[in-house]
Amino acid sequence: MRISRILIQNFRNFKNLDISLSDQSVIVGENKIGKSNLLFALRLILDPSLPDTARQLGFEDFWDGLSRPLSKEDKIIISIEISDFDDDDNLLSILADCLVNHDPMISRLSYVFQPISGLSDDPKKESDYEFLVYGGDSPEKVISYDTRNRMPLDVMPALRDAESDLFNWRYSPLRPLLDDSSSRISPDLLSSIASKISAANNGITEVVEIKSLAERITTKLEELVGSYQAFETKLGFTPADTEKLIRSLRLFIDNGKRGINEASLGSTNLLYIALRILELEQLVDQNKRNHTFLAIEEPEAHLHPHLQRLVFQKLLRSRTNQSEEPDECEHSKFTTLILTTHSPHIVSVSPIRSLIALRKTVEGNATEGVSTSNLELSENDIVDLERYIDVSRGEIVFARGILLVEGESELYILPAICKLLGKNLDELGITVCSVHGTNFAPYIKFLGSKGLDKPFAVLTDNDPQTGKISIGIQRLISLLPLFEPIEDLTNISTDEVKRLGKAHGLFLNDHTLEVDLFKCGQHKSICKTIIELSDNGAAKKRATVWNDKPDELDIDRFLKDIEEIGKGRFAQRFSSNISGVSYPNYILDAIDYVSNKCR
């Protein structure tokens, strides 16, 4: 079972949010964009621990953009659609009454906050409003505590105090686990252990020093309040009562040397997550519920990047066939994760389709969302993109705008050029991302209007060929259909291709990066770099010549000399050597294109 769609209208940051979701979800977005509000919206429908008084919202919960005073047509609507539940009879029996589609089976649960029906005038005070939580298309099908309890949303908030929660017996996730285990232990075994504990207790209490301490405490009490009111005290390890025995168990780490109060923040958080998940699995086993939607706000809190990747790699992928352990798959079937995060490490291990990005609308007065759940990607595309995001730690997901380039050379050179132009890429939120090759298509889809919908530009080499269309133009021709349907690809002119390309953010140089840089006026800096780095005497000599006579450039020889040094190394040193104000146009065009589109 998964939530397949979320619709939010007129609630807090959201004027109209309509996103589709795939299996589990990882929600990113800048601060104050509304991630917590999105989770609260889900709680209104699905959280049984949220009291109904909290479901009675107030005027401040209506979207700011609605003109005040509110009219009687203004209502808050939050709906979730649920899919993939029809293979589980228990879930089907709960959700069958809420169907809005039967093939495939989709059910809908909605929360509505609206003026009380039958009100004749416009609503004036908050008590003129009522809320309704119902299933399907009929407001009569009320969703009550009972339904919520069988498939609840459990939220682990951002500012959680894992430490004190673990300690407080009532809230500790360890308690239900201990209770369940102890109910299965044979009473005889417990009694025999209890008597051993009793013996140990006696052992220590009979020790002279301890015994006298206990007596002194009792005496002092009597002195304070008299023997009638005083009570006897004893020192011991744990009550030897069989019922209390299991509850007095404590969790230790480090080979039993340290209690959890001495554990690090990270360890405590990790323990907390582990225990919570065990607790949820147990609840399903006991048939107290059939599914849990587990929302964790900022799960990265207190966790080292490696741990973040380890833990969430497992959790986010165990539901699909990517997990090797079948048992894990069984249990994880009953929990759906919804994460909100700022962590590139967590994003780096998230399945491609799980990403949801929240951002401001064009008008700037509301939050909208985009998701990657419906991208049309081949298996290989998915593998490539996930590998890329893994290795680059998800930077492409957090950027506001992206410059897609072919390799590491551009990665060094572009930022350096920007700096010299007085444009700070970090301030603009633009990241340069190398696809390590020329397979731009999956990235274009990922960033395009059907995916994360971010501004981007592609910088690619022309690579002219004698007697044929250049490789660059061919590449553009193959990429253009991703943006708009092109009628006749065979008869299109090179100029037209370039023009269309530019319109969609595809920028071509004249030859290759290094050649274009040389020819636009950077030849002195280039030659200086070759001389500094090359081990090849002949290459150095050539560079010296071209330094003064740039028209004599032998392109093939030039490129080979750079390759000998290593393109990356060359680019690295060259970025420090760049000077002057002339740069290849395609680079300038691309940077302008993206920075203009970034909000």
Binding site: D86, D89, N90, L92, S93, A96, D137, N287, N290
Partner: protein, 608 residues
């Protein structure tokens, strides 16, 4: 057998089940797994077995959020079933459905999935009142046949046809093109007014489960088990629904019935459906042969009447007796003799016997009027259960009886429970699902009940105040309660001064089912499921039973079954009263002699 400690009310059935152990048939039914048909002869403890089995399945086999759906013949049976299950600790909950077939089709199939499945109905739709059905029907009859026709026989024909020819795209639908057209016009009229009737609910429900596998899947997810009581009365549509949901859809079936007690053929019931079902592969058939009710002589005689030996055994220890009374002067003579001679003698025979232990069974309402008249003359108090009864027993009326029962003395013991009364009340007010509204409804009802705790208050007064405090607003708001509103009006009218129930108090209304010193006057068709110490069958003349109208062998077999049902209502005494002739409304006599069935038994008596 020691009692198991049952602190948990859900486990009460374990103790009750011990009672079943002694009876091999009941014990087998209790333990059956998979699809099962229980053929339960008269007095065999079928309801007990069924309710204990349901309680067991709920406790042991079906886990929340899934549940069990129980279907039965009419709202009387539903009420009984709910009461008996409550005694076993089975609370009516979201995961248990107990209702009639049409209520099942409406609540479980049509309302949740009809629109999604594209059923061509006006949304929202209403359930047609009897008066609306009548008006539409008469209009349709006038248009398709002629305005001069008497609607009543045509109506019966139409209902039978609708329940028998279920596939309108097959050639059999045109068996009588005239009736087919009539039905088309009738239904069209209903739809134009945004209405459906009970038959529509069942037919639409049936077509939906047969056509859409996803609906079968959804119903089975909610209810893995389907329990059907009185299967023999339920007709072809229910049979098809059962086959679709259970044999084709994976729901487990637990069906109970007795083909020998099938007496509603005119309404579309077919006894062979249950027999055929029990013969299908994969279905376990369990006969219940012990009869705890009828004396051994009565059982023996009933088997002669049936013409088959079902192997029923009596376990009570008494033989029972059969009496034959010939009254030469006709039906009035019969009624007079019953009230003045037969009943007093029967009461004398047993010191503990009272009028409430005796029932007079007759063919129709007219005979009912005659015996009622003579009982009044003889100063005997009585209760009538037939079409002459002054009001219909709908679910709301049953609920009002429960309220009356609570008000008169139930509040002291908490029986019926206020909680169950309130739950039912909320169900009648479907469209008030808002917390605030529900609270107001509850407060109003409880306030009314508390302030009207009196057994002796006149029923009319109590009902009027119930209407102004609680029912009035509900009737105006809830479109699905229109039929109930209608039934309530009839009840109210009947309890007014000058009407038949003018003497009724809250207490007498509450005690309607079974009144110790009131003689029971019942039509044969309404006697099903009941039992009495003494049964007097009046008007047992050839031409009445079997009726002169019964021509086909099916109809004659059904008459025999009707006679069989009548005599198996008796524990200790059965009296057959006849004249040897019948008289029509114009006074013309038909000398056909006593009923064939009486003659068969007389021969048996003479032979022994």
């Amino acid at each position: 057998m020691s009692l198991i400690n049952v602190a948990n009310p859900k486990m009460r059935y374990l103790n009750a089940a011990e009672d079943l152990r002694e009876n091999p048939g009941q014990w087998k039914a209790y333990n059956c797994e998979g699809n099962c048909v229980v053929l339960a002869g008269p007095g065999s403890g079928k309801t007990k077995t069924l309710t204990i089995k349901v309680a067991r399945m709920l406790a042991e086999e079906v886990t929340v959020p899934r549940g069990i759906a129980c279907l039965t013949y009419n709202s009387e049976c539903v009420h009984e079933l709910k009461r008996k299950l409550m005694n076993l600790g089975v609370q009516e909950d979201n995961n248990i459905f107990i209702g009639t077939v049409h209520s099942f089709c409406l609540q479980v199939i049509l309302l949740p999935y009809g629109k999604l499945a594209g059923v061509a109905l006006p949304y929202p739709f209403n359930v047609a009142l009897p008066s609306e059905q009548k008006k539409n029907f008469e209009h349709a009859l006038a248009e398709t046949v002629s305005p001069e026709e008497n609607p009543s026989p045509w109506r019966t024909k139409m209902e039978y046809y609708r329940r028998t020819y279920l596939d309108r795209d097959k050639p059999e639908w045109q068996t009588s093109p005239q009736i087919a057209k009539l039905i088309g016009k009738y239904e069209e009229g209903l739809r134009l007014s945004g209405l459906i009737d009970f038959e529509d609910m069942v037919l639409l429900g049936m077509h939906l489960v047969e056509k859409e596998p996803w609906i079968r899947k959804a119903v089975r997810a909610r209810f893995p088990v389907l329990v059907v009581d009185e299967y023999q009365d339920l007709g072809i549509p229910l049979d098809r629904i059962v086959k679709s949901l259970c044999l084709n859809g994976g729901m487990r079936l637990f069906a109970v019935g007795d083909p020998d007690q099938s007496i509603y053929g005119f309404a579309g019931a077919k006894p062979e459906l249950l027999r055929d079902l029990s013969n299908l592969p994969g279905i376990e058939t369990i006969p219940l042969r012990f009869n705890y009710r009828c004396g051994s002589d009565i059982i023996q005689a009933s088997q002669i009447t049936l013409g088959e030996d079902r192997g029923y055994k009596f376990v009570g220890g008494y033989s029972g007796s059969l009496y034959f009374h010939q009254c030469p002067d006709g039906i009035n003579d019969q009624a007079s003799k019953i009230c003045n001679i037969i009943i007093p003698k029967s009461i004398k025979r047993d010191g503990k016997r009272n009028f409430g232990d005796i029932a007079v069974l007759y063919m129709d309402k007219n005979d009912g009027d005659i015996i009622a008249k003579h009982a009044s003359i003889a100063g005997i108090k009585f209760i009538r259960i037939d079409n002459g009864a002054p009001y219909r027993k709908t679910p709301l009326i049953h609920w009002l009886e429960d309220c009356a029962s609570w008000c008169s003395s139930g509040w002291i013991k908490g029986v019926p429970s206020l909680d169950s009364i309130i739950k039912m009340w909320k169900r009648f007010n479907r469209s008030s699902f808002n917390d605030k509204e529900q609270h107001i409804l509850k407060v109003n009802l409880v306030h009314f009940l508390f302030s009207h705790r009196s057994s002796s208050m006149p029923l009319f007064e109590w009902l009027s105040e119930m209407h102004s405090h609680c029912l009035g607003p509900t009737f105006s708001k809830e479109t699905l309660m229109r039929d109930e509103s209608n039934a309530f009006d009839k009840l109210l009218n009947a309890s007014e001064k000058g009407s038949i129930l003018e003497d009724f108090t809250v207490g007498s209304f509450a005690g309607q089912s079974g009144y110790k010193d009131h003689l029971n006057l019942i039509t044969l068709h309404s006697a099903k499921g009941l039992e009495f110490e003494v049964v007097i069958m009046m008007g047992m003349d050839q031409g009445r039973i079997p009726s002169w109208r019964a021509k086909t062998s099916e109809e004659i077999k059904e008459s025999r079954r009707l006679f069989y049902v009548g005599m198996t209502r008796a524990k200790k005494e059965v009296h057959f009263v006849y004249s040897g002739f019948t008289e029509n409304q114009y006074g013309r006599r038909f000398m056909r002699g006593a009923s064939d069935y009486v003659k068969e038994l007389l021969e048996l008596m003479e032979g022994s």
